[in-house]
Amino acid sequence: MSLASHQRINADLLRPLRHTSWKFYLLVAVFGSIVLVAVSAWLAQTYLGFGVTGIRWPVYWGFYVTSFVFWIGISHAGTLISAILRLVDAGWRRPVTRCAEVITVFALMIGALFPIIHLGRPWLAFWLFPYPSERLIWPNFRSPLVWDFFAINTYLTGSLLFLFLPMIPDFAVVRDMSTGFRRRVYGILALGWRGTTKQWHRLETAMQIMAVTIIPVAVSVHTIVSFDFSMAPVPMWQSTIFGPYFVAGAIFSGIAGLLIAMAILRRFLHLERYLQPVHFENLGKLLLLMALLWGYFVFNERLVTYYGNEPSEMAVFWRTQRESFAPLYWTMVVCNFVVPVVLMGIRYFRTMTGCVLASVCVIVGMWLERFLIIVPSLGHKYLPYSYGIYRPQPVEIIVAGSTFAAMALLYVLFAKVVPIISIWELKAGDHQGRDLTPPAAEEHPLGEIHP
């Protein structure tokens, strides 16, 4: 496409980097102060003792572990979706991939904090790390929590690379358009990118490798998170279906998170030209697919439990199905299944508004799903004498709730320093079909040799 259109892409997508409006400061101040409140709440919890939370005998996991699983789930938006779309070379992915990959990295960073936040002695969290010590005590490699440590770190490293690689040419664009200190910073980030054919070739190869690698890693991460539950002999936890069930739920909530993020970015950064209804509609179809898959897994899990009729499991089953947790349970079913299937299944509703509405419901529903997996089972283990009811306390609500502000804050800051839509991929989209397989000897279709 023409030079003019390239310049317009540059101008549109780099606008947030070059101009700072008062809205940016306002958003940072609002989200930043919420995060600060949450940090002080957690410090107070550490100082006063864990008893300020609602955690009790026998419900030893609550909002914190729910948030952990929820955010690790959200992290499946990005990398997985963008890797799959890259591999199948779906042309419409171009404006979406980076928004998605950023969600992955930030959601993982937030989620990975919770295993530390929820510790009784968080200052000793490093004992989970397999570091050589004079005591020669390694972590217990049989513990699913240690598996979590490895899985999350692998995924975080992989997604950081996967996010960073396609940013290199964009950093070079910013570098070439700026001066002074900013030029130096982006120059370092651009890693000496000059846009030679060899560099493009290596970038494409690296991204192909990462895209193929990250998919099994993503699937394994949430399977391992599900092992935290399915490995323990707790009613309704010991289920062989938890691995795929959690992965499906994770991708489901991830797509919902991505749709919401896209809608907000579109509105605030004026990206109407790039994030078009077709992107929402296509992701809406994916959301529909995942809603059906989620419904299948829940139906399967519930039916098998009901048919098996094991007494301790049935106690938990009825507790969620029609006793104290029933309102939450049926809210979850409506939010995760009824609303998305109706809104996304009928073409008339599959608009941007419809997508956002369905996504908000899915976010609520998936959070409830994790809560309903963890708490009712723990409060209703085998011996009736030790049944217990969990009531979240302010500190937990603040910390769990503030994660959404933390996500927004990180997103706002990121969109300030990096083009949130991949500039070069968008431009490459103009050259149909040649972008992902650059001929080594010819001039690259992107053709921009940076001086």
Binding site: G49, F50, R56, W57, H118, S143, P144, A232, P233
Partner: protein
């Protein structure tokens, strides 16, 4: 050595002496009524009460429940730091200093006999003077549970070794067994087929708590006969 216990439900009258003795012996802090109502009470041994039937035809059963020291303990593999681990003489040990408070062990325990320290322990004066010097205090954020009074086991074993003699059956008594006025609790070596605990646990009245979970508990309950 394989330490085990039997609890005779015919003898247990639910007096709670075992609970009190356990608190005193093991320096278990009490948390007060308010915290106790929020599920923060720590009773390494508790007397579960089960009512059957409608008033006035009520049948009441007491069941003292402590850590069952499972041979196949669900709490052990899940601990990321080996705080919960199996000793050579079959005890299900908890190393407080190694615990970082993930509370995973307590979730995995089917018996709910693991207790978390939600606050630093404190004692009203002069109760701090009765603390047992043989048992370490637990700080906030760690998990604690019944140890079968491991301090008594160690002390008596060392004493016997010093005197160059074998342990006598019944020589070691955990605080709960010692305090039980009805002698419902019997402790001893399950590897010795002649020990009182071995003979009792072979009784036809014997059963294990939640045996179907496959945890292989070392506490045997002798069922009521009426």
């Amino acid at each position: 050595m394989k330490w085990g216990m039997t609890a005779d439900l015919d003898r247990c009258n639910g007096c709670g002496a075992c609970v009190t003795a356990c608190h005193a012996e093991n320096n278990i802090s009490t948390v007060g009524a308010d915290q106790a109502s929020r599920g923060r009470a720590k009773h390494w041994i508790r007397v579960e009460r089960y009512w059957e039937g409608e008033f006035p035809d009520v049948r009441l059963t007491f069941r003292p429940v402590m850590c069952q020291h499972c041979e196949n303990a669900p709490c052990e593999p899940v601990c990321p730091t080996y705080a919960s681990h199996h000793t050579e003489d079959g005890l299900n040990a908890q190393v407080y200093n190694r615990c970082i408070g993930t509370r995973y062990c307590a979730n995995a325990c089917p018996y709910n006999v693991r207790f978390f320290d939600f606050f630093n322990p404190s004692w009203d004066k002069p109760l701090q003077l009765q603390l047992n010097p043989d048992v370490s205090l637990r700080e906030v954020g760690v998990m604690e549970k019944c140890t079968f009074c491991v301090q008594r086991i160690k002390a008596t074993t060392n004493q016997a070794k010093a005197e160059e003699r074998a342990l006598v059956d019944g020589e070691i008594k955990p605080a709960c067994a010692q305090a039980c006025p009805a002698q419902a609790l019997v402790f001893g070596d399950l590897d010795d087929p002649e020990s009182a605990v071995s003979r009792l646990s072979r009784s036809s009245r014997g059963s294990k708590l939640l045996e179907d979970r496959g945890t292989q508990p070392k506490v045997t309950y002798l069922g009521r006969q009426d």
